[in-house]
């Protein structure tokens, strides 16, 4: 009798502890939300209210007048420029990223100091936000494509090194071991095992990066006065909301088309 009751008591304390723990987590999170709200002067009511307001705004500005549509040509030209920068910066960054990933991977490193150097360079390049790169570079390079290209290049480079590094480490361990055991040279293991094994996955990461970069390019363009981001900023400040929604729509369509193409390519190569 007494035995069963102690078990019950234990069970109750466990459940209580579990509930207490859960309650504590919830209290801490709610506390943090309130603190963050205080710091940023964020109002939840206003936040919720802004959603229907923005929705009705979007709906009312979707009907383009003739004069808005006549600007379609320049929208398309700048959109193309933005896409171009995104792709070229990604592919260029990928070339450098492959080299750094090979230097940084535990399977293919040449020596330890070089391995850490490669990882640190990549980490710095990826942890400085793209906006910071854009703001730093626009001062010396001015408002042209080169600034956007370089800003996206540095951001993509750091990210791709990390992605490629994981791809190499996960995919090639076995085959590298086998090739080493046959007496193959370092370059053999890279060209005959690591690259054939990781190339499709790496390409998939490149496609992902291009998708991301088209969105980032808009942001960079906004700050550096280039590409589609510049055009958006221009009409936004003129309060020409029809043009703003036309540009947004154009970007959305471009991103969706590129995502669709990426998915088709992925299905073929993976």
């Amino acid at each position: 009798m007494s035995k069963t009751s102690t078990i019950n008591a234990n069970e109750i304390t466990i459940i209580q502890k579990k509930n207490l723990y859960l309650l504590l987590t919830v209290v801490v999170i709610v506390g943090l939300i309130m603190l963050a709200g205080y710091i940023t002067e964020y109002s939840h009511v206003e936040g919720i209210m802004s959603i229907p307001a923005a929705m009705s705004w979007m709906a009312s500005n979707m009907w383009f007048s003739q004069s808005t549509l006549s600007n379609l040509g320049s929208v398309m030209r700048l959109l193309w420029e933005t896409i171009l920068i995104s792709i070229v910066s990604t592919t260029t960054a990928a070339v450098f990223a492959v080299v750094f990933a090979l230097l940084g991977s535990k399977l293919t490193y040449i020596n330890k100091p070089l391995m850490y150097a490669a990882k640190i360079v990549a980490s710095i390049s990826r942890n400085i936000p793209v906006v910071a790169w854009a703001l730093i570079l626009v001062i010396s390079f001015g408002t042209n494509s080169m600034t956007g290209f370089l800003a996206l290049f540095f951001g993509s480079f750091g990210f791709l090194v990390r992605a490629f590094l994981e791809t190499i480490d996960e995919g090639s361990e076995d085959s590298v071991e086998a090739l080493k055991a046959t007496g193959a040279t370092y370059w053999h293991t890279i060209f005959k095992a690591v690259l054939p094994d990781s190339m499709p996955q790496m390409f998939s990461w490149i496609l992902f990066m291009i998708e991301t970069n088209i969105r980032s390019a808009t942001l960079v363009g906004l700050l550096t006065g280039t590409g589609i981001g510049y055009l958006f900023d221009l009409y936004y400040k003129q309060l020409n909301y029809e043009m703003v929604s036309l540009i947004t729509l154009a970007i959305v369509l471009a991103v969706l088309v590129i995502e669709a193409i990426s998915n088709i390519i992925r299905r073929e190569i993976l």
């Binding site: 206003e46 936000p129 906006v131 910071a132 703001l135 730093i136 570079l137 042209n144 970007i251 369509l253």
Partner: protein, 273 residues
């Protein structure tokens, strides 16, 4: 010797016969190489003077990283701005996470019906196609530039990211356990919160933190580009208003340190998951 060997044009034995995927990949590699080279010629270089730009960049980078200092602001104020940026990122992440949790229940194919799952996925694809900065600026029309527009705008991409991550984690949950509870007549919310969420808890935490790390970078960007305040705004002012490279350097280093700390924590959580 019965092997079916094929010979190439010179009469040598072929070592491989590439299949479709390999040919496509090869074509794509060559194609993107050519596109990149042509792309460099197609870009708009108006006003670019490399002989001037490169030495200036090097000089700027030297000032930034060799003698960083805060000239127009103070350390306490700069750290407060970091706190604002972190808070914006936190609010967008946590509010996004709560919404994502419920959307992910509807998206995971093992917990939901196909039409619900596909509807949410389509919605998310469109949401993700709009750059975050445009979301923020669109909401700023309704709510004015500031924290509200920034947080609500950032929530959209957080949701797109987290729903995908969460629903994939839910799909890994052992179907047997779900069926076992269904068989006992447990209610749907009971199954979700007694089995699915506890089973995937460490994944959920790890992905949410990863998004927090990303959102920190996004919040910096929104401060600079969409008037959301915080350290990003300071960076924007230092570079385009004061042209003060030493301050740009100091702020960049502060951002870098915070970002690296967040990345290290995220990696730790990912290992544990």
């Amino acid at each position: 010797m019965t092997a079916v060997v094929e010979h190439n044009k010179n009469g040598g034995i072929k070592v491989s016969k590439p299949n479709r995927g390999q040919r496509v990949l090869k074509g794509l590699l060559i194609g993107s190489a050519i596109f990149t080279v042509i792309g460099f010629f197609l870009m708009d270089y108006t006003g670019l003077d490399l002989t001037h730009a490169i030495p200036m960049t090097i000089d700027n980078l030297g000032q930034m990283f060799l003698s960083p200092s805060l000239n127009n602001t103070t350390w306490p104020s700069a750290l407060w701005q970091v706190a604002i940026t972190l808070s914006l990122a936190f609010l967008a992440t946590i509010l996004g996470a709560v919404i994502s949790l419920f959307l992910a229940f509807g998206t995971a194919v093992n917990l939901s019906k196909p039409w619900i799952s596909n509807t949410i996925k389509a919605f998310i694809t469109v949401v993700r196609a709009v750059p975050t900065v445009l979301w923020v600026l669109i909401f700023a029309i309704a709510a004015g530039l500031g924290a509200v527009a920034a947080v609500i705008g950032m929530i959209f991409h957080s949701i797109a990211y987290l729903v995908k991550a969460y629903s994939e984690a839910f799909e890994e949950v052992d179907q047997g356990k779900i069926e076992a509870l269904r068989a006992t007549g447990s209610s749907y919310p009971h199954i979700l919160f007694q089995v699915v969420v506890p089973q995937t808890k460490s994944f959920l935490i790890s992905w949410t933190f990863l998004r927090f790390e990303i959102n920190f970078g996004v919040a910096v960007a929104m401060g600079a580009a969409a008037g959301a305040g915080g350290i990003g705004y300071e960076l924007f002012m230092a570079s385009t208003f004061y042209y003060d490279m030493q301050e740009v350097g100091a702020i960049t280093l502060i951002i870098l340190v915070v970002a690296i700390i967040l990345e290290l924590i995220a990696n730790r959580l990912k290992m544990a998951a």
